[in-house]
Structure formats: structure tokens, C-alpha cells
């Protein structure tokens, strides 16, 4: 196996992204969807911002609230000395040590476009492409995936609010603006990966519900006539007995069509909360049939920018492309920066044993 990281990694870092408003700090420029449009490679970045606080005891929390029919940013304050919250996870504030219930996220995520003519050197837009502005998005919008279907760019993403973690859909034709199409999976659901064309007359997608009392966070397959209403849910893949994805799994990049089958680059997590990437190859006529999957990780956290960051030991993809028989995986590293790794398809098939 010879997956190769780009020499210019990380391609995009928080310092390359202008905060969306005064007083905000960009913590993460990560987990981007990818698309090609008008000869350019576009990354739709998840930009996570926190609020600068002068007092180390005070955490300032950015959320979105409705005021007079508009959704605007509001800053909440949490005093670490007063509240008995659990601050041990850099991404969230939990109600108390030992209780997983989340009170706040530490940052608010929006989507920002970055554009490139060579797929490596990106210029990041100065302003957001999509910013949270519904009651399902008050804690942010996260981890977009773009799928080009029937001539339009569909963007599915995670909408987070105190109501829950849901999967939402939007669509754009030209990347000037996106039309929101609503919530397509209720809570808890994330990591949806849409197939780029219908199979046997139905749209297909992978999605990742997180059950509470019974079951584990596994990948499911669903079907649809219109991409708005989904059903015929079937269990697709859970954690394996292999080392790298034995704790949980979730969808990664949008599904890509290849001669050998539908290709899905997904993330696996081990018991040490180490996020790696692997590949699944599915039968073209029946994607429930897995032809092959990674026994070992295709890409795992190894470099400094993957091991150290906002949340370390993470490589996580929301988008990949095949160009000239090279699979280009754009991925978030350490929940902080964007990076690129490439593998020749012949080497990928070898990795998968097909």
C-alpha cells in the first residue's frame, strides 16, 4: 500500500480563515466536502469558531438564537469555577463528570468555500457560504458532504442544536447560495454519504444513527425516491474485530462510482478514540453487498498535524475525488486543519484485495 500525503499538508489551517465576526477566533478549518465546479476544485470547509475570552475562568460560548424572526449569534458565558460541568473534552461541555449529556459545544461551526485551480493551493472565501440559521442549527452546522446528482450539487450536513444531532439537506447549482431542503434524518444521525446516481430506480445513502440504550453507532443503508424522504433502512456495517475500527464506524466521503463497485472512504475509531480511514467496496447493483473492506487502516494519524490539534489523533474525511486513476482524499486532521492524501487506484484495489 502506498498512500501518499501531500507535501504541502496541511493545505488549510485556521490562520488561513478570516473569522466570521469580530471577537471570534477560528479554531478549526476541517472536514471539508469536495466538488469540482467550473474547472476548479472547491472545498466546503467546516469552520469552527470560538469566542475570545480575556478571563481564563470564563468560557464564552457562541450559539445562534432567533430575534425578531432572524437568527443571530449570541454569546453565552460559563464560569468554570462556578459550574460543575465536565470540560475534559475540547469539543463539548458536558453536564457533569461521568454524565455524557452535552450542555454546549465549545465552538460554533459554519461552512466556508475554498477554491483551487490545482487541488492543492486553496484560497479561502472571506465570508461564510452557509451559516447556522434554523432552530435545528443553533449549535452549528458540521461535516458537509457534496454529491453531484442529476446536474445539481446536494449538500448534506449535520445540524446540531439542543433538540438533537440531525442530518439536513441543502442544494446549490452554482455555489453562490444554497437552498435548505429540511431535516432528512431525525436525531441522533450524522455521517450521511449519498450515492451519486440511482440504483434500481432509487436514490441510496449511507447514514449513521447513534442509538441510546440498545445497539452501537453503526452505518445503515437507506433508499429514497426524491432525496427528501428516506426509508427501507437496512443495517450495513458496525465496528469490526480489526484493531483500527473496533470501537465505532461512520460514513466518510460521498460515495464514488468505480469500475469495481461503489467506493466509500469511511472512518473507524478504536478504543483509544483514534480516528482512522478505511475503504469499502460495494456491489454496483446491490450496495448492501460488501465486496471488500479495509482490514488495516488506509490512513491513520501519524504526522504531527494529525496527532496534535484541537482534538488529536484524528483523520476524518467528508470528501474525495478520483482524477486520472488517483483517489484524492481530502481530510480533516486533528479536528483542526485540512490535508490531502492520494493513492493510485491499483494500489487501493491491492489494499482491498480485489
Amino acid at each position: 500500500m502506498s498512500i501518499k500525503r501531500c507535501d504541502k499538508n496541511p493545505l488549510i489551517s485556521p490562520k488561513d480563515v478570516k473569522p466570521s465576526q469580530p471577537g471570534f477566533r477560528v479554531d478549526c478549518a476541517m472536514n471539508a466536502a469536495v466538488a469540482t465546479f467550473n474547472g476548479e476544485t472547491l472545498l466546503l470547509l467546516r469552520v469552527a469558531e470560538s469566542v475570545i475570552s480575556d478571563n481564563p475562568d470564563i468560557i464564552k460560548i457562541p450559539v445562534v438564537e432567533e430575534k425578531n424572526g432572524c437568527w443571530d449569534v449570541v454569546v453565552k458565558e460559563v464560569n468554570k469555577k462556578i459550574e460543575n460541568y465536565d470540560f475534559s473534552d475540547s469539543r463539548v461541555i458536558r453536564v457533569k463528570p461521568g454524565d455524557r449529556t452535552v450542555v454546549y459545544l465549545t465552538s460554533l461551526s459554519h461552512f466556508r468555500l475554498a477554491r483551487s485551480s490545482d487541488g492543492v493551493n486553496f484560497i479561502v472565501d472571506e465570508t461564510p457560504f452557509m451559516f447556522p440559521d434554523t432552530k435545528y442549527e443553533t449549535f452549528g452546522i458540521e461535516d458537509p458532504r457534496i454529491t453531484f446528482i442529476d446536474g445539481r450539487y446536494y449538500i448534506n450536513y449535520t445540524a446540531v442544536s439542543p433538540i438533537g444531532v440531525t442530518t439536513a439537506l441543502a442544494v446549490t447549482d452554482d455555489f453562490t447560495q444554497a437552498e435548505r431542503l429540511g431535516i432528512i434524518f431525525g436525531p441522533d444521525n450524522k455521517d450521511m454519504c449519498i450515492f451519486p446516481e440511482k440504483i434500481n430506480g432509487k436514490y441510496h445513502a449511507l447514514h449513521r444513527p447513534t442509538p441510546k440504550d440498545i445497539g452501537t453507532p453503526d452505518i445503515w443503508l437507506a433508499k429514497s425516491d426524491n432525496m427528501l424522504y428516506w426509508g427501507d433502512h437496512e443495517h450495513f456495517l458496525g465496528a469490526s474485530n480489526d484493531d483500527w475500527d473496533n470501537y465505532k464506524v461512520g460514513g466518510g466521503a460521498q460515495v464514488i462510482k468505480t469500475d469495481k463497485g461503489w467506493l466509500q472512504i469511511y472512518h473507524g475509531v478504536d478504543s483509544k478514540q483514534r480516528y482512522s480511514l478505511g475503504a469499502i467496496l460495494m456491489d454496483l447493483d446491490n450496495p448492501l453487498k460488501i465486496i471488500a473492506k479495509s482490514k488495516k487502516a488506509l490512513l491513520e494519524p501519524e504526522t504531527k498535524y494529525e496527532i496534535e490539534g484541537f482534538f488529536g489523533n484524528v483523520v476524518f474525511t467528508c470528501g474525495a475525488l478520483i482524477e486520472n486513476n488517483i483517489l484524492k482524499i481530502y481530510y480533516g486532521a486533528a479536528d483542526e486543519v485540512m490535508a490531502l492524501a492520494e493513492i493510485n487506484l491499483l494500489d487501493l484495489w491491492k489494499h482491498l484485495g480485489v
Copy 2:
């Protein structure tokens, strides 16, 4: 308010139900869907069975497993002296005290028909109408609701397995057999209540996802073109500040059309795990608009058969009918027996303040 319990309550008890197989004991005959068919009132009972064990230290667990392409009952054994499981909840066995993860259910549920010419005196079928037989049902099928739509009887129910708690759909025309239509909501989801006709060209349903990390078990509203694929999810109702439903809520009976709006009899749970019933009235054109809802419980556990049983202090409905301006609520009591309570519609509107 003058809701009145039937003098003949409980209408059906476990002793009235023949076990589905030798060595099984019927623990519960509860949470029935209701329908009228060929001049009869039909209850589709959830019958929960456990396995008789001669050794008090050994709990025998009935599950369904695949053997040579068929799904059959298999009995597992758990030794209470050896395993450090949490046996404190009569309904489930948890992995350990303090950890909510469920290892087994203590019983296996199937569906059984009971028939009546007067809606009060029922004769229970000797054999199951539906028995668990897919990989999503290996821990049982629970809490059916029947909705008569477009001339057919749709049965939605909770399918439970180690994969998760999902909502499944089936359909019957004549109650001789049901055709399974698959999983319509992935885990965790239960308590779906379908509207009996389309609104603005779309099927509608209430459903109850249970999120894990963020959010509470609330009722959502979803739409569909075909009842198989659902979407356009919108948050509908969470726990209130009233005494009786301040912990969690979930759908109850199938939705019923009235002159004043769509009627939903739902369950509310308080902080002491006491399950009561209340009513919601929704706008006929826009069911997301709640016209009125119960400030106090419409029916709460008061009688012996509601307070004491397999899981006490529970009244829980999966089906109701309106006949001659009387709302007839069929409900499970103490997770063990079936009962009936009636209220005049004029009294119901008074209760709701409409």
C-alpha cells in the same frame, strides 16, 4: 372531566392468553392496537412471554435466531450469581449497575389478535398473528398501532434487536396475515402514530426518536409520499413543565380525525417513571400547530391493576376509537393487562379548554 374506566377492567389479562409454545409463560397482554373490521372490534395485543425456569438463579431469555434461513426461538440462560448484570428493571437486563446499555430483554413480544362484538368482551386467538422473524426483531416486536388508510390496515410497530430499537411497518387487508414493509425509522425510534389521511398531499406521522448525547426523547412530525420513505422531520413536542409529563413524552394511539382537529392521545412520563395519558389537538391543515394539550393527565395510574403489575404505575395506549361521540381509549395497565376508559367528546373538549 369525567373519564370513566370500564367496569370489566382489566379486559384481557395474561391468563386469558395461551402461550405461543411449551415452556413459555405469558407475562403481559398489553399495549394493543385497535381496529374495527367486519363489524368486530379487534385488538392487536402485544403479548410478552418469558421462559419458565426451575432454578431461581437462572433467568431464561427467549430470543429469535436464524437457522437455515428460518427464524426460530432460542432460549439463552443467564446465571444471576455469575453475571454482574443489572436486574433491577423487570423489562430488561442491563450490562451492569449504573450503565444503561441493554444486554437482553427479559421477555419476547409478539402480536396476537383478540376479537369482540361489543368492544368489551374479547376472545383471544390461540396463535400469534405476527411473530418476530427478521434480524431487526430478534428481541421482539412491540407496541403496534393500526391506521386504516386508503382502504388498508397499516400496522406500525417497534422492532427490537441487538442492532437497535427501530420502527417497522406492515400492512394487512383482512387480518389473516400481514405483509412486512421494512424498517421505516432507524434506531432509536418508537411510538409512531400515523395520520389516517393525507394532509396537503402528504402522509403524516408522529414519531419519537431517542437521542443519545444531545436532546431528549421528544415527539417529531414527519411526512411521506408512500408511508415507506419519511422525511421533512420537524420537532413537535417535548416534556412540559406540568407535573404529569415533565420527564418525557411519546406518541400513543393512532391519530384520529375530529371536527375540532387531529386528536392524539399520547403518553407522558414524570420523574418517578409514572406513565399517564393526555390529549393533543392539532390544526387540521397544519398539524404542527397544536391547538390544545392536556395540562393535567387525562388518565393516570390509580387502580390496582394500573399501579401493580409487570412494570407498575403505567397507563399506555396504542389505540383508540371514537364511536357515537365517545372516545374509547384501549390501554395497557402496569405493562401487564389491557383496559378500557371512555370519555364523552364534549368532556374531552372541556378538558382541553376548546
